[in-house]
Every structure is written in C-alpha cells, then in structure tokens.
Amino acid sequence: MTESDFATRLNDRFPEGVTADEREGYQGYIIAADKLIEFATALRDEFEFDYLSSVTGVDYPDEGKLEAVYHAYKTIGGAELVFKVQTDRENPEIPSLIDIYPGADFQEREAWDLLGIKFTGHPDLRRILLWEGFEGHPLRKDWQEAYYEADKKPFKSRWPKAEYTRAEAKNPYGANVKYPDKFDPEKWVPEGEDALYGSLAKYETTDKDGLKTDHLTVNLGPQHPSTHGVFRIAATLDGEKIMNLNPVMGYLHRNHEKIGERNTYLQNMPFTDRLDYLSSLSNNFGYAIAVEKLIGIEVPERAEYIRVIMAELTRVQNHLFAIGMFLNDIGAFFTPSLYAIEERELVLDVFEMVTGSRMMCNYLRFGGLARDLPDGSLQKIRDLVFDRLPRKTDEMDRFLSENEILRSRTVGQGYLSTEDAIKYSAAGPVLRASGVPYDIRRADPYSIYDRFKFDVAVRYNGDIYDRYYIRLDEIRESIKILQQAVEQIPEGEIQTGKPRYQMKVPKGESYGRVEGPKGELGFYLVSDGTGNPYRYHVRAPSFINLTAFGPMCKGLKVADVVAVLGSIDIVLGETDR
C-alpha cells in the first residue's frame, strides 16, 4: 500500500475531522479532538498501526493552540504515521487514548505535567516528573525559569558593559524557586503522596477463615540499592506478595527538553549524552538523524560506517552492563557484574581512543563525525569483535544461563504477553523478548543497516529469563554487524561540507529514531527557522518501558520486583530527563 493509497483510504473512512497537516515542513494528519477516539480505534483495528510509540505536545502561543503529537507504527514494520490534535491553549482538553493504547499512560501524564494538556478519561492524571503542587507547566513557552537570564543561547551579550553578576548572587539560597502563593516549603507535605497511596489502597484483608492480615505499604527507593538510581516503587504487600505497585519517578528531573529548547542545535549534541549515560553514542545517533532529516543532508559513507560501529559497540557494552547488574539484582554478589564490566571497560577504551571520552562521548556531528578514527583504533576494534567479545559472551552464557538458581528466579516470572508488550508500547529487548520481532534496524532501516546481514533477536516466553537471554543474543547479533562493518569500512570523508557549528535550520518537524540498546530512542524536533530548536522531545525507552512494569509485577514476590526492574534495564538519566 503506497502513501497515497493510505491517504485515500483514510479520507474515505473519515471524510470529516481528519485533514492532512499542510504547514511548511510538517507531515501527518490533524485530527479533530472529538474524532480522536474513533480515529485511534480505527487506526489500531483497521489500519494495523498497533503500536503507539510516542505521545507528546507542542505549545504554539501565537496561534493560541496546544498540539498533542502522536507517532504510531505497525509492528510488522514500515514508516511512522504522525497525527496531531490541536486544542485551545486556555482550556486544553484532549480525550485520553489510554483505553486504546495503554502505553500512552505515562506519556500522557508527562504531557499533562510539562505542557498542561488535560487528557480526559485518564484514570490517574497526576504529575509524573515534577512534584505535585509545582507552579505551572514548564514546557509552555510563556513559562520562565525563575532568575534565568535569557531565553535562548547563545546570549546576545552575556555580560553587557563588561560587568557580570553571577546567578548565585542574585538567587540567595532558597529563593531561586518560584512558589505558588501562600506556599511555605517548610510546612509542605507533598500532595501527591496521599493520591499515590490512595491509588494503592486497601490495608487489610480477611481470608475465608476470618483471619485478618494487614497489608504493608512500603517504599522501595528512591534511596535503594537496586533501583538503579533514584527511582521509587510504592507497593502494598500481603506478606511477601505484591498486591499493588506504583512506580514514582522524576527525582533526577532537570527538564532536559526545556534546556534543549534554549540550547542551539549543536549544543544539544553533548546534552544527549546525559540521557542514557551508559550509551551516549546511540543517543548522539538518534539526535543526529533527527536534525539531519530537518536540514536534509547526507552523511558520507565512511562516517555512516563509523556511526554503526560505534552504535553497535555501545549496544554491546550496554547489554554487558545490563546483564551484570541484573545478576547483581537477583543477588549474585558482584562477580558476574564485575566480569561483565571488565569487558565493558575494553569497549570503553575504544571509545576513549576514538572520541576522547569514555562515557560522555559527544562524537557525532550533523552530516558526519567530530573526527576520524585514530590510527590503530580499527585494529583494536577488530581484536575485540573477532576474538575477545565473542569468546567472553560465550563464556558468560556458559557460566550463567544454566545456573539453577538463576533459572528458578527468572523462568516463568514477570511475564509480559505479546499483546501486552505491544499494548504497553514496550520497546527494545523487552518487546522482542515477548515474541515481537520488531527491531527498527530492520523494520524501518536507518543509516546503512540495510546492508548488513543479521538476525533480529527474538524470544517468545516474555519472562525475565528471556529478557535476560535476549541481551546475550543481541550482543551476538551486534558482533555480527560489527564484523561486517569492520571489514567493509571504506576510506573517505567523514563530514559532508563544512562542520556546522551554528546554523539556521529550515522550518518544520522531524522524528528521528534509532534502535538504542534499551529500545526505540526517538527525537521529535520542531524548528521555527532559527538557531534553536522550537521543540525538542525525547522518546525515552527507559521511561516508556516502565509503563508495563506495574502490570508485570502484580502477584509476584518482593524479590521478583527487583528482578523485573533489572530485566527492563532502566537508566534514570533517561527516565527522568
């Protein structure tokens, strides 16, 4: 079915309420708010767009409009469908899609939190990243960060008349936050807590013999060794069994997207490193693709190869770390994780050699790379991917996968069915371990992934064990890609045209997505023609994979919650943004 066929069919199905988005540089469709539910149902059931990947919003104060932006895909592969719903800025109400795509849950809460779009029909529309009681919605264009000097970077003159003040001097301690009226931070009790615990409810049950059991409401995190950072799980327990569970996040929130709007395009490149700090090169990759789509430039052959090599090495080291830390979570006292980290360090050595940094690589540029591979680095990569990594992956497999304790902890536990995985917009290893062979490198190839022979790793049981094992599979597939890429890499340029430090980007929108180690990493950019992005949204896989976390955990034991969380593999830098 071609693009125009689809448009005709869509037009026949919805003669009213669905119009093509004809603004300059924009794509997709604009849906009338009252038609949204019908449209989404039809989209899922009739047009096979069963996977709602991203939900976000954009503020257009000049037109008095807030716009919710949705990206949907078919899990059988293919390009995205963008559709938008516009609403009045003063009273923004859009029907919630949670019944049709439950994966919209957290993303709608995020859009409510940061943009103030009310999703009617959402059962639990609380703030998700900011604290309950926060004043305003920071991604709106008229929201100003208190005492921040200018709206955009670079500043016209940072220190006019050569005299400068430091922001700290202007903001005495405690006064650099804007509070609502009559708000006393000393006496503040977070309003969200009652709502949070209320959503768990039920402190007592009586069984059939009339024996009473009190339920325990317990918080795991934010200061907890196995939540992989400052992540919090509020749970009610019946003995050791999880009755109900709610993830709470946002402790590491720094409004990445608002800062991204203030930065220039290039300044955001190192900033993406800080999202998923374990796999910074993948983040660079996604962002570079999104910006390159906007400015419409090609990347030279050699640069593409280096990008792929770096992205796949990133996947290998991320999965090594994930496996190691997962085993730590189920109680193996650091031995597997240190063995995995040993290999990871070797990959990081390559990163250091090539990019100059081990973690915050900041290596990709629009239309190319920051610098070419230094002498000897290719040989080093060759040694790794032809000898050391395959050997060590097999060794790890041999040591761990058949361990009885590991199997008893993971096989059949934390089950996520194929339907649920799609429903909850799970991505990456979590999706593929549930039997959905959806890998963006295959489903919607970007860069030069269509040239390589590799299999999409997929497992069918959807339990913790599969989510663990699929990472080993993916390491092996990545090594296959790496072996081909290292053999094929051509000589040549690494940058199209001049390096672009500061540039004007044509008006429009773009959505660049890559198969990051943790899942689909998408960057949604809107440009208004200036040097700063008008809107910069990150579709964070760690964040959205957590939507399925609660349903996966119900009925499990406390110890399993930790294992399930480890098997999702989250990084809080990305979850909280």
């Binding site: 109680g331 006292f333 096989v411």
Partner: protein
C-alpha cells in the same frame, strides 16, 4: 575445685575468645581479599602491608562512629538485640575440641573449653538462640524492611535448623556418642564426610542458611530490603551483628570440621597433640573458603523457594539419611551408608530439577 583450675579456665576462655575475635577480624579481610581475587579485583591493600591492618582500621572507625537510635524504636530491645546475637556465636564453640591434651608447664591442659557429654545438643540449643537476636532487632527497629528481614530470618533459621539437627543425628549414629571428643576419635579410621558425604553436604548448606550467608542471605537481602533486620543499626551495634555473623562462620566451620572432617585429627597427631589446633586451623580455612566461594558465585534464592528447599527437599532427605545410617549400622554393613545416601542425594537433586521444570510452564 582449686583456684588454679578456675584460672586455667578463665585464661582458656579468654584465649579462645580472643582467637575468635581475631579470627572474625581477619575473616573479614580474608573474605574481602578472596572475593576480590574471584572477581578479578585487588581488594583492600592500603592499610599496612598487603592491607593486613585493614580490620584494625575498620574497628577503630566503627568505635568512633556516632550511633543513632531511631526515635520510633523500642530502645531497650534495640540495644539488647545485637548482644543477644553475638553471645551464642561465641558460646557455640565451648564444646569444640581444638586438640588433644597437651602438657604446659607441668599441667595437663585439655585444648578446648569443656568436654560435656551432650556436646552436640549444646551446640544445637545455643545456635538457636541467635534467632532471637535477629528477630528482636527487626522488631525493635520499627522499620518495615527490618521487620520483614527479621521475619524472614526467623522462618529461615527454624526451617533449616531441622535439617541441621537431623544431620547431627546422623553423626551421632555413626559415632555412637554426643561427646565431641568421642566423635573426633570415632573418625580415626575414616572421616565421616567420606562415610556420609550427602550428610556433609546437607549440613554445609543448612549451616549456610543458619548463618544467613549467600545464597541464603535473604534476611539481609541488600537488593530487596536495603539491608534487612540491621538496617537501622549503625556504629558499634552494627559491628556487633557483623561480628556475630563472622564469628559464627568461624565457629560453625570448626563444628563442620569436627563433625565431618576429622576435627583436630591429622598426620602425627597421636605423637604430637600440639598439632591439633594447626590442623583445625587448616580445615577451618578451607571450609571458610568454600563459604566465600559460594557467596561469590551464586545468585540469591528467592524466599519461597528457599523455604521449599528447606522443608520439601532437605528435611525429607536428612530424615532418610538418618534411616540409612541406622540401617547400615544395624546390618553392620558400613559400605551401604555412602552408597544409599548418594542414591538419596541423587533423588533429591532430581526432585529439585523436577520442581524447576514444573515452574517453567506456570506463570
């Protein structure tokens, strides 16, 4: 009883306790270095030559640390709990013989505190006191993690105590005595670990559970309960829990060595009884290494499976081992014992595998 005898006892007690405490301190060092070796790290190597003064540095630090008591806690029990935990860990060694009788300054000195006729029973009863310390610590902290950790460890300790006790019965059957020295002497020909290998393995795992060591370290499961029953403890009170665990490791290794690995017996022991403590030390050293090795290589068993293992596998298995031992002794066919018990152990492993397989298809 003359006063010299009392002084001898006090000195022996002090020497043993000091040895245990030094053992505890250097066990932490041994474990950290051992784990580091296994995990391809270096381990503590800064304080003193090769880090040998590390335990002293730790002790000094812990003494000078501020201790705080949570406001919600039940204060008296909160302070009492670590003391109750430490005492049985030390007392448990009272009946362990460290060697034969040696002559020091013209006096016949038995290497060991007391050789009582119900040594085994003494060990069992003293060991079960420790559970009070843990559960009281968990309860008195008035903290949810501590409470859960305390409950877990109570259930775990009592569940594995059965397997432990029944393994004792096996040894008593073989030695025909509950006196520890007689158990050691009974192993003159063949160590019980070879006569009853499955019993030794069951005993080893039951003691791991009793000690809350990995893979049975649920009560202090860091990843699940932050730290379990001792989460609210700090400073010296925390160190006491630590001390209890490690002292108990030493004591229990000594008991394992005595019951199954020939105790203080070794080459030339009959001519040079002074070698006894040395043999004990070597055996304890190896058993401790096994414990460290297990901790370094295995993930933690989940709680309900741990209980299943204790009640549904180890308890029937150790009951059957008692049965097998009794049969072998009655028929006076000792070779039957290792043969049948290995068969029983094999069945138990099959049962574990079966239970794993069944879970595979379940949710």
């Amino acid at each position: 009883m003359d006063s010299a005898l009392i002084w001898e006892m006090v000195i022996k007690s002090l020497v043993l306790i000091l040895a245990l405490l030094t053992g505890f301190a250097y066990l932490t060092y041994y474990e950290r270095r051992g784990l580091a070796r296994i995990q391809s790290r270096v381990g503590p190597n800064r304080a003193g030559p090769a880090g040998l003064l590390q335990p002293i540095a730790d002790a000094v630090k812990l003494i000078f640390k501020e201790e705080f008591t949570p406001g919600q806690a039940y204060k008296v029990i909160f302070i009492l709990a670590p003391i109750i935990t430490v005492i049985p860990a030390i007392l448990i060694t009272a009946t362990v013989p460290w060697g034969g009788t040696v002559t020091i300054g013209g006096r016949e000195v038995m290497l060991g505190i007391a050789d009582i006729n119900i040594g085994v029973l003494y060990i069992m009863s003293v060991a079960s006191i420790a559970v009070y310390g843990v559960v009281l610590a968990g309860w008195a902290s008035n903290n949810k993690y501590a409470m859960m950790g305390g409950l877990r460890s109570t259930a775990q300790m009592i569940s594995y105590e059965l397997a432990l006790g029944l393994s004792f019965v096996g040894v008593i059957l073989l030695a025909n005595s509950m006196r520890m020295t007689e158990i050691v002497e009974a192993q003159r020909g063949l160590w019980f670990a070879f006569l009853q290998p499955v019993g030794a393995v069951v005993f080893f795992f039951a003691t791991l559970a009793e000690l809350n060591r990995g893979p049975f370290d649920m009560p202090e499961a860091e990843q699940e309960l932050s730290a379990g029953y001792n989460v609210e403890y700090s400073g010296m009170k925390f160190a006491l829990f630590f001390m209890a665990e490690y002292t108990k490791m030493v004591s229990i290794s000594a008991i394992i060595a005595t019951l199954f690995w020939g105790g203080y017996r070794g080459p030339f022991i009959d001519t040079m009884p002074g070698l006894g403590p040395l043999y004990m030390f070597i055996k304890i050293f190896f058993i401790l290494f096994m414990m460290i090795w297990v901790r370094a290589s295995w993930p933690r068993i989940r709680y309900d499976r741990l209980m299943d293992l204790g009640w549904k596998i180890l308890l029937p298995l150790s009951l059957s081992l008692v049965f097998i031992n009794a049969t072998g002794i009655l028929l006076n066919q000792m070779w039957l014992i290792p043969l049948l018990s290995i068969g029983a152990g094999f069945l138990a492993i099959q049962a574990i595998n079966l239970s794993l397989r069944r879970k595979e298809n379940a949710r």
